[in-house]
């Protein structure tokens, strides 16, 4: 089964991509198009999200200090904005959001929240249901290596295919 186009444009879908360096990454679709590998694996993706939702929320987390600037939100709006992404970061997973929510075709994502203790982030008590190597779907990003680029500057543009 696949996510239909109409479903993708009408739902704010949680999806996950794995990378050997960065671990499991979470993305919020905000009604935008999904990468092909996610589109084709709707049931597995929903199950993965359900599994992750049930993980304990025991990680300390950090939120991106540049969010007000990226999104144009005031402090009160920012508190409402963060809730979901913080929940994911507390489970040990870096959480990204779609940057331009009024442009479904734009595939740019910014990092919202991430776990403070990186050493534990490669552990989760279930198998990943499908292979999604982020190196295959990142269209462009900063040329600075991840290890030298502060996380608040992490922005991905994902390929659909």
């Amino acid at each position: 089964m696949s996510y239909t186009v109409l479903e993708q444009y009408s739902r704010d879908i949680d999806y996950y991509i794995y990378n050997v360096t960065l671990g499991l990454l979470h993305f919020a679709s905000a009604g935008g198009r999904l990468p092909r590998v996610i589109e084709a694996n709707d049931i597995a993706n929903e199950q993965l999200h359900e599994n992750i939702s049930q993980l304990p929320s025991d990680f300390k987390y950090i939120t991106n200090p540049n969010l007000s600037e990226i999104l144009g939100l005031n402090q009160l709006q920012l508190e409402s904005y963060l809730t979901d992404f913080v929940e994911i970061a507390k489970k040990g997973i870096c959480s990204f959001d779609k940057t331009n929510i009024n442009n479904p075709e734009d595939q740019t994502y910014h990092l919202v929240a991430w776990p403070e203790n990186e050493s534990d982030k490669f552990w989760w008590p279930f198998d990943l249901p499908f292979q999604t190597n982020i190196n295959n779907i990142i269209l462009n990003r900063s040329k600075i290596p991840f290890s030298e680029n502060p996380k608040e500057n992490w922005t991905f543009t994902l390929k659909l295919d």
Partner: protein, 120 residues
């Protein structure tokens, strides 16, 4: 409670069911208020709304292959709901709340399809 506050209450209800549509909206006409969210609209709709959407193209298809598919927006769905029992509501007289993304409570700008359909 005004339309914005009631829409926010509707958003909170949806979130409590872990339901995350891309956009939620409220609408009002002549004292009647209804709430809905982005999803493929029912193809069985009032003529005025259908005709206006058809000016953009076929239902469920993206105009020029980009943007929201026609009839998929929260505005269309909430208008359909509002027109139940009153098919003569002028589309440009419908009052909408601010469209909201439930996950983040961010306001979502109205899309070009809806600007055309509802003369906003």
């Amino acid at each position: 409670m005004n339309l914005e506050e009631q829409t926010e209450k509707y958003v909170i209800k949806l979130i409590s069911f872990k339901f995350k549509p891309a956009v939620v909206i409220g609408a009002e006409y002549n004292g009647k208020r209804v709430f809905s969210y982005s999803k493929p609209c029912d193809s069985n709709m009032r003529n005025s709304l259908r005709n206006k959407l058809r000016e953009l193209g076929d239902l469920y298809i993206q105009k020029n292959g980009k943007g929201n598919p026609i009839g998929n927006c929260a505005e269309v769905n909430v208008s359909q709901k509002l027109m139940i029992g009153n098919s003569t509501i002028p589309l440009d007289k419908i009052i909408f709340s601010t469209p909201i993304r439930p996950r983040t409570k961010q306001p979502v700008p109205i899309c070009d399809n809806c600007k055309h359909t509802f003369d906003k």
